[in-house]
Symmetry: C2
Subunit: 301 residues, 2 copies
């Protein structure tokens, strides 16, 4: 089949239903672009859209939606709880099938050029698509948000990667990038002692020296009499779910605590679960093309 990507564009509008509907329209009506989820948050005043499809239709729909967003969103009057620098705040591309990460980064960069040509919104590249190492991290690019960037954009250190060194008068700037698929994964433990979950979260997360592609916190599930190690796995190929599970199990054993259950939150690529089935059952020489549904998807193109 053709290349397949996920894209999760974030728009700075979470309150006006008619604007949200108008922005979502091209994602619903562009053949080959599949709208998986569309979630508006009033407090954040932000719309998070989840798309899957081939690169071309996804890009076409993104451009159309961006033009609608520019017409309806004015950053000069926008307020909301989530950090943002533009009406079309951030567009991350994720490779799903038949695409490498370098190819996806190239896609993000060429889309950034097209995006600027068609919307006149300046573009910053982040994560795998970053052109400057310091711009890999989204929070660095977005520092000070729209209000600060409006002045600082003239400073060469904050010049956009594409476009003139000034923000779009209404739509600000857009951050475009490439990153791996993020799996939200929780491990629930049979204790009411939240300290156990917090210690394990500290042991496993990258920020305190654990697994390189895991973020995590420990919290109590009071109603259930359990605690939870709540994790984001930012690279499930390098840090597969079975390894994360066994890591938590091993640490929990130190406290005489059992893994009661795990939770996969939201969407997940088939490979993230297959690798765990392969591990636990020791399946030798398995090829994902043996899975009927994946083969069919390839054949349907």
């Amino acid at each position: 089949m053709k290349q397949l990507i996920e894209c999760v564009p974030n728009f700075s509008e979470g309150r006006r239903p008619e604007v949200i509907g108008a922005i979502a329209e091209p994602f619903k009506n562009t053949p080959g672009c599949y709208l998986f989820d569309c979630r508006a948050d009033e407090d954040h005043n932000r719309l998070v859209v989840s798309l899957v499809g081939s690169p071309e239709p996804v890009q076409t729909a993104l451009i159309a939606a961006a033009k609608i967003a520019v017409r309806h969103i004015d950053m000069e009057t926008h307020a909301g709880g989530h950090p943002r620098i533009g009406a079309v705040d951030v567009i991350p591309f994720t490779p799903l099938r038949n695409m490498t990460m370098p190819e996806c980064a190239d896609l993000a960069r060429s889309f950034g050029e097209r995006f600027y040509r068609e919307t006149e919104i300046p573009v910053y590249f982040y994560e795998e698509a970053a052109l400057r190492p310091d711009r890999r991290r989204l929070e660095v690019v977005r520092r000070g948000q729209y209000e600060a960037l409006k002045k600082e954009v003239a400073d060469p250190a904050r010049h956009p990667d594409v476009g003139e060194p000034r923000l779009h008068p209404r739509a600000g700037a857009t951050v475009i990038g490439a990153r791996k698929f993020l799996v939200a994964f929780n491990v629930n433990l049979g204790t009411t002692d939240v300290a156990v979950a917090k210690r394990i979260a500290e042991a496993i997360r990258a920020s305190s020296g654990g697994l390189c592609h895991v973020k995590g916190i420990g919290l109590a599930l009071k109603d259930r009499g359990l605690v939870q190690v709540s994790l984001n796995v930012t690279d499930h190929e390098k840090n597969p779910l079975y390894r994360v599970t066994e890591f938590v199990r091993t640490e929990a054993r130190r406290w005489g605590v059992e893994v009661v259950e795990t939770e996969v939150y939201g969407m997940v690529p088939a490979a993230a679960l297959m690798s765990s089935a392969e591990y636990y059952m020791r399946i030798a020489g398995f090829d994902p093309a043996q899975i009927i549904e994946l083969r069919l998807l390839e054949m349907m193109g």
Copy 2:
């Protein structure tokens, strides 16, 4: 998405490439019918085709292929190592998505009527589509093969389920049915003692009182210094792969023998592996619609 079925028609031709090619043609060229595999065996003089698709295009392609088979295959002169009663020997339908087994059995029966109308080949129904309990088993329907059935078809006990009580002069009869997806699954053990594999196969298979939907034999993998419990799981929902694996592991422990690896042979539905990932990782409340590829397949229709 629409209903999805697998179908594995068997044709009594495994030697003449031009005939094999002609029979395969409609499976390749009917939109909505996806040809997964096409395997001719010279000794068996038999062609086994593996199809996936929506019921309508799969049936259309089957009728077209059957008409070609009737033109080129004469059961009066056919010889081969595999039991058979007709040019289009057997057509099993398997429900894959959005279809229950009773619906699939109905599909098999209505297809049987259409098949007879369009080809004049009489039809027997087997397994879940059987109209008489004694015809559930394929080997009963095929008893004595083409040569015996030609005479015995006049006997009411062997009358076809659809059509006059006589065979098609060239194409014999066809057995049509509905059955669950069959998963070929092997468990390789770290011993050279084939008796261990044979004992475990005996313990697990239905025919000697084990799991109801498992067939199995024990054999030696001499080159590898291992033995194998070679299994067919005829209902992976009732006898999931993790349970089969753990059953074998428990029995092997009695002999101080380890499960070295397992093998999934050929195609497998995603659910057969997902259920194992769910079991080993204790994933709570998982919905297959969370898997991107399955969701996409639904949306692509």
